[in-house]
C-alpha cells in the first residue's frame, strides 16, 4: 500500500513538473488568456464578444464580415453576458465589446484602476430602456401611457405568475434594471415577473401580440421587435442626472445612453488594422435595426445578413477601413 501511495505521489509530482514544463516556468500571465481557438491556420484572429440580444449580434456580424472579407482576419465570437464580458475583456479572452449599455463600476475597476481596458468610442447608437405597452392597447386606453394610471389596469394585466397583481414582464437577469425598486417606490400594484432570458421574453410578447392581449413589459430601443409588435412607452417620472444613484430608492425613468465600444488595452495598442477598424466602427440606430431584423425575423444567418447590408452601404463602411 505504501508503495502505491509513493507511486501516486510520484505521478502527481511528475504531472506537476510536466505542467510547468508545458507552460514555461515562472509566472503565468492572467491578462494574456487568449482563446485556444484563436490564430489557427497562421491567420490573424480577432475575438469579439456577442451579447445575447440581436442588436449586438448585428454589430458583430457586420464587423466580422468586414474584418474577414476586407481586412483578411479570422473572427471568433463568444457569447457572454454583459458583466462577465468585462472580466473576459480584461483577461484578453475577447478583444472587444462593441455595444455596452453603461457599467460605471466596471469602468472604474478595469479602465481607471487596472488599465487593462481602453475606451473604443461611440457606437453611434443611442439606447433607451423603458416600460412599454402594445400600441393596440394604448390606442384603446390612451391614459395607460401615464404611470399614474397604471394601477387602473392592474386587473387587465394579471397572469397566473403575478399572484393577484398586474404583471410587469422583465427579461434577462443580465440586463440593467431598476424595475423592482420602481414598482415599490411608485406604489404600483404590480409584480415583476422575470422571463429569465430575452428569447423567452420575445416569445411571450409575440404570442400575446398575436392575440391582441394587453401586456406591460420592460423593453429597450433600438430593438427589432418594434417593427413586428408596435409598442408605446409608458411615461415614468422624468430622468434627472443622479436620480438613479441609489438602486433602492430609484423612482425615475431610465436615461438615454449613447452606447459605447470597449477594447482590451493590449489589443488596442497592438491590434493593427483590426483595432483601428473597430475604433472607427460607427453606424446608426436604423442601420443596426435593418441587420437585426434580417437576423431575427427573416432568420438569415448573421453572415448572410451582414453581406446583404455591406453590399448596399459601401459609402458608410468605406470610412471605417484604416487608410
Amino acid at each position: 500500500m505504501a508503495r502505491t501511495r509513493l507511486a501516486l505521489g510520484g505521478s502527481a509530482l511528475a504531472a506537476a513538473v510536466a505542467l510547468t514544463a508545458l507552460t514555461g516556468c515562472g509566472a503565468a500571465d492572467m491578462t494574456r488568456q487568449a482563446s485556444p481557438y484563436a490564430d489557427a491556420k497562421d491567420s490573424r484572429t480577432v475575438t469579439l464578444s456577442v451579447q445575447s440580444w440581436v442588436g449586438a449580434q448585428a454589430n458583430v456580424a457586420v464587423a466580422r464580415y468586414l474584418l474577414e472579407h476586407e481586412l483578411g482576419y479570422r473572427v471568433d465570437t463568444v457569447q457572454i453576458d454583459e458583466v462577465p464580458a468585462w472580466d473576459a475583456l480584461s483577461q484578453g479572452r475577447v478583444d472587444a465589446i462593441l455595444e455596452d449599455w453603461g457599467h460605471p463600476d466596471q469602468e472604474k475597476r478595469y479602465i481607471d484602476g487596472k488599465g487593462t481596458i481602453t475606451r473604443g468610442g461611440d457606437l453611434g447608437v443611442t439606447g433607451h430602456i423603458g416600460w412599454f405597452v402594445p400600441t393596440y392597447f394604448a390606442e384603446e386606453h390612451p391614459d395607460v401611457t401615464e404611470w399614474k394610471n397604471l394601477n387602473k389596469y392592474a386587473d387587465d394585466l394579471r397572469t397566473a405568475e403575478s399572484g393577484g397583481k398586474g404583471q410587469l414582464l422583465d427579461g434577462s437577469p443580465s440586463y440593467v434594471t431598476n424595475d423592482k425598486a420602481l414598482v415599490d417606490n411608485l406604489g404600483l400594484d404590480y409584480q415583476v415577473v422575470f422571463a429569465g432570458s430575452e428569447a423567452a421574453q420575445i416569445t411571450q410578447i409575440k404570442q400575446l401580440a398575436k392575440e391582441k392581449k394587453p401586456f406591460l413589459s420592460y423593453w429597450y430601443k433600438p430593438q427589432w421587435l418594434f417593427e413586428k409588435v408596435p409598442m408605446t412607452e409608458v411615461r415614468l417620472p422624468a430622468y434627472e442626472e443622479g436620480c438613479d444613484a441609489e438602486p433602492e430608492k430609484v423612482a425615475c425613468a431610465y436615461p438615454h445612453t449613447p452606447l459605447q465600444k470597449f477594447l482590451n488595452s493590449r489589443f488596442a495598442d497592438g491590434g493593427g488594422d483590426a483595432a483601428a477598424f473597430l475604433k472607427r466602427f460607427r453606424w446608426t440606430t436604423g442601420m443596426q435595426n435593418d441587420v437585426a431584423l434580417m437576423i431575427a425575423e427573416q432568420k438569415l444567418s448573421p453572415e448572410e445578413a451582414a453581406s446583404r447590408w455591406v453590399k448596399e452601404n459601401e459609402a458608410t463602411w468605406r470610412k471605417w477601413l484604416p487608410s
Binding site: 500571465d29 485556444p36 463568444v78 462577465p84 473576459a88 437577469p173 404570442q207 392575440e211 432568420k299
Partner: protein, 656 residues
C-alpha cells in the same frame, strides 16, 4: 457502510434481547414512524410555532462572499496564487485544447472522417465504422464543421483529464479502505448534483472562457470514472488475487497484472459514462464561454431560432451516440481473445488515415466545403411556428396549451408552493426526515434533514421551497406518464422497439434545446420549466420502468397465468410489486433529472433558485449565485436521499 443503526443488519452482532426489540421495531417501523411524527408535530406546534425559517437561524454569507469575489478579481493579475498555480493550470488547459484543435484542423475534414471511421472499425466493427463516418458527415452537412471540431477538442482534453483524475481517485479509493469510505459519499453526491451548480465557482477563479469550461466539465465528468474504477478494483475475484499473491507477486505486480486487467470492464464503462457526462456539460458550459457547438445552441436560442439551435444540437447528439456505441462495443469485445492480426489492422488504419489526410492537404480542401451544407433551420422553424400558431390557445373543447399552462400554474403550482411555504419550517424538516426514513436508512434521513436545514441557514428558504414545489409537480407528472409508457413498452415488444431510439435521442439532447419550444407552447413562467423537466426526465423513467417490468421472473408470471390471473391482475399483483426496486430507482432518477432542468428553468421564467443562479452568473454577483448554487446542491442532496432506496446502495456495494 456502518450499518449498526439499521435494525436489519444489526442483528448478527447484537445480543438476543436487543435482537428481539429490534425485530419488533423493524416489524412496526412504518407505524412507529407515523406515531413518532405525530407526537413531534404536536410538540412542535406547541413549542416552536408556525412560519417560515426563523431569521435568527440565518447565517447570511453574502458579505464575505462579495469581498472574496472582489479580492479575486482585483488580485487575479498579480497574486502569486494565480501567477504560479492557477494561471499555469489555466494555461495548460488552453495549450492542450489548442494542440488538439490544431491537430484536428491539420487532419482536414477528410482525415478526421477517415480517422473516426477507422478507429471505430478497429474497436467496434464495420457497422459502427459506417455509422461514425455518417455521423461526422452529418456534422459537416449541417454547416457545423468548425464548431464540432472545437467541441471535440474541448471534449478530448476534458475527458482525458477526467479519466486521469477519476482513475487516480478511483485507484486510491479502490486500494485503501479508509479513502474508499471518505470518497464514496462525496462521489455519490457529486453525481446527483445539477450541472448548473458547478459553473459559478470555476468562473469565479478562472473567469469566463475555455479553462473554466474544461474544469467544470472535469469536475462533472470525473466522479463516474472514479466510482467505477474503485468498484472494479474492489470486485476483483478473491481466488485470483489469492493465486497471484501465492505466486509471490509484489503489490505493484498484483495491481498491474491482476487487479487492473480484471477491472477493465468497469474502467471502460467509466470512460463511456465520463464521455456522456462531458458532452452534456459541453452545452451547459457555453454559458461560461466554452465556445463550439454549445455556444451555437446558446446563440441561436437568444434569437428564438429553434431550427438553428437544433442544427447545432444534432451534432452533439450524434457525437454522443457514436462515442457511446463505440466504447460500448469496445467493452463487449474485451472479453474475447485479441485477434492475431490486431497490430496489422491498426497499422492499416494509421496508414489509410495518413494517406487520406495527406490527399486532403494536397488538394487544399482542409475545411468542410462550403457548398456541401444543408439548411434544416428553416423547415424546423416553420414546423415550430405552425405548432405554436395552432396549439397556443383557442383550440376547441380542450383549450390551448397556454390555457393548460395557466390552469396548471393556478391549480397545481400555486397551491403547492403556497402550501409548502405556509408549512412551519420544522414540519418540513420532520416530513423530509420521516419520508427518508420510510424509504431509506437513518443515515440518508439525517443527511436529507441536514441538507434542508442548511438551505434555511443560507437564507433562501422560500425560493428553495418554490423550486421544490416545481420539482414535486414535475416529478408527479413524469412518474404518471413514465410508468404508463414504461409498462406499455414492456408489455408490447413493438412499442418497445419504436420507443428505444426516440428515448436514446431525447436523453442525449442538450437540456437547453427544450427550453424555447416549451416557452412557445406554454408562455413564460414556471409551467414551461416544469414541462421541459418532464420531457427531459421521462426517457430515463420509461427505460428503467420497462427494464424493471421485463426483468420480472418469467416463472412467477407463468404460475400466475396458470392460476387464471387476467392480464390486469398479472400487471398489478405480480409484475409491478416484483418490479418495486426498479420503480423506486426510477423515482430517484426522475427526481434528480427533474431538478437539473427545473433549475435551468430560471432561463424561461421558472424563478426561484434557478433564477438566482442565472442572475449570479449573468451579473457576476458571487453572493447571490453561490448561495443559490449551494442551496441547489442541498436541495438535490435532500431529494436524492429522501428517494434513495436501500436496494440501490446494496447494488452499488456489490463486491465491496
Amino acid at each position: 457502510m456502518t450499518a449498526t443503526v439499521t435494525p436489519a443488519s444489526a442483528r448478527p452482532s447484537s445480543p438476543a434481547a436487543a435482537r428481539g426489540v429490534l425485530r419488533v421495531f423493524a416489524g412496526h417501523r412504518g407505524r412507529l414512524l407515523c406515531a413518532g411524527t405525530a407526537v413531534a408535530l404536536v410538540l412542535g406546534a406547541v413549542f416552536l410555532g408556525g412560519g417560515g425559517w426563523p431569521a435568527s437561524l440565518v447565517a447570511d454569507p453574502s458579505g464575505p462572499l462579495d469581498r472574496a469575489g472582489d479580492w479575486i478579481v482585483d488580485n487575479r493579475d498579480g497574486h502569486p496564487l494565480f501567477l504560479y498555480f492557477l494561471g499555469h493550470i489555466s494555461n495548460a488547459v488552453v495549450v492542450s485544447v489548442r494542440a488538439v484543435y490544431l491537430a484536428l484542423l491539420a487532419l482536414g475534414w477528410a482525415g478526421v472522417t477517415a480517422a473516426a471511421g477507422l478507429v471505430a472499425w478497429r474497436v467496434a466493427g464495420v457497422r459502427l465504422a459506417l455509422t461514425s463516418v455518417a455521423a461526422i458527415a452529418v456534422c459537416g452537412l449541417l454547416g457545423m464543421w468548425v464548431p464540432t471540431l472545437q467541441t471535440l477538442a474541448l471534449m478530448v482534453v476534458a475527458v482525458a483529464a477526467s479519466v486521469l483524475l477519476g482513475g487516480l481517485l478511483g485507484l486510491t479509493a479502490g486500494l485503501s479502505d479508509r479513502m474508499g469510505r471518505i470518497l464514496r459519499p462525496v462521489l455519490d453526491t457529486m453525481q446527483v448534483l445539477p450541472a448548473f451548480a458547478y459553473l459559478l465557482p470555476v468562473v469565479l477563479v478562472f473567469g469566463i472562457g475555455v479553462p473554466a469550461a474544461v474544469l467544470a466539465t472535469v469536475v462533472y465528468a470525473a466522479p463516474p470514472m472514479a466510482r467505477l474504477t474503485a468498484l472494479g478494483l474492489r470486485g476483483a475475484d478473491a481466488g485470483v488475487m489469492e493465486a497471484v499473491a501465492s505466486l509471490g507477486a509484489t503489490g505493484r505486480q498484483r495491481l498491474l497484472t491482476a487487479r487492473l486487467p480484471l477491472a477493465r470492464k468497469e474502467l471502460l464503462l467509466g470512460l463511456s459514462q465520463s464521455i456522456m457526462m462531458a458532452l452534456g456539460m459541453a452545452v451547459i458550459a457555453s454559458v461560461i464561454g466554452a465556445g463550439g457547438l454549445g455556444d451555437r445552441v446558446y446563440q441561436a436560442l437568444a434569437s428564438v431560432d429553434v431550427g438553428a439551435a437544433l442544427a447545432a444540437g444534432v451534432p452533439i447528439v450524434l457525437l454522443a451516440v457514436v462515442l457511446d456505441r463505440v466504447t460500448g462495443a469496445a467493452g463487449e469485445r474485451l472479453g474475447a481473445a485479441p485477434a492475431r492480426r490486431a497490430g496489422t489492422g491498426w497499422a492499416v488504419a494509421l496508414v489509410v488515415t495518413a494517406v487520406v489526410a495527406g490527399a486532403g492537404r494536397l488538394s487544399g480542401r482542409l475545411s468542410w466545403p462550403d457548398g456541401w451544407t444543408v439548411d434544416i433551420a428553416e423547415p424546423v422553424n416553420g414546423a415550430v411556428d405552425w405548432m405554436t400558431a395552432h396549439l397556443y390557445s383557442g383550440v376547441p373543447l380542450v383549450g390551448g396549451t397556454a390555457d393548460w399552462a395557466a390552469r396548471f400554474t393556478t391549480w397545481v403550482l400555486n397551491p403547492l408552493r403556497d402550501g409548502l411555504q405556509w408549512l412551519p419550517w420544522w414540519a418540513v424538516l420532520l416530513t423530509v426526515g420521516a419520508l427518508a426514513l420510510l424509504i431509506g436508512t437513518w443515515r440518508t434521513a439525517t443527511t436529507a434533514v441536514l441538507a434542508m436545514a442548511a438551505i434555511g441557514a443560507l437564507g433562501v428558504w422560500d425560493p428553495a421551497l418554490d423550486t421544490l414545489s416545481q420539482v414535486l409537480a414535475a416529478v408527479a407528472v413524469t412518474l404518471v406518464l413514465g410508468f404508463a409508457l414504461g409498462v406499455a413498452a414492456a408489455r408490447s415488444t413493438r412499442l418497445g422497439r419504436v420507443l428505444r431510439p426516440v428515448l436514446d435521442v431525447f436523453q442525449t439532447l442538450p437540456q437547453f434545446v427544450y427550453l424555447i419550444p416549451v416557452v412557445a407552447l406554454f408562455g413564460v413562467g414556471r409551467a414551461p420549466a416544469v414541462a421541459a423537466a418532464v420531457v427531459y426526465a421521462l426517457p430515463a423513467v420509461v427505460r428503467i420502468t420497462a427494464q424493471g417490468v421485463l426483468a420480472v421472473d418469467p416463472a412467477a408470471l407463468e404460475s400466475s397465468r396458470s392460476l387464471g390471473a387476467t392480464g390486469r391482475q398479472q400487471l398489478f399483483q405480480v409484475q409491478l410489486p416484483l418490479a418495486r426496486p426498479a420503480l423506486l430507482l426510477a423515482v430517484n432518477q426522475g427526481v434528480v433529472l427533474v431538478l437539473a432542468v427545473v433549475v435551468i428553468g430560471g432561463l424561461v421564467g421558472g424563478g426561484a433558485l434557478g433564477y438566482d443562479a442565472v442572475f449570479g452568473l449573468a451579473q457576476g454577483d458571487l453572493a447571490t449565485g453561490l448561495v443559490a448554487g449551494a442551496a441547489i446542491v442541498c436541495l438535490g442532496l435532500a431529494l436524492d436521499r429522501v428517494t434513495q432506496p436501500t436496494e440501490r446502495r446494496d447494488l452499488a456495494r456489490k463486491g465491496a
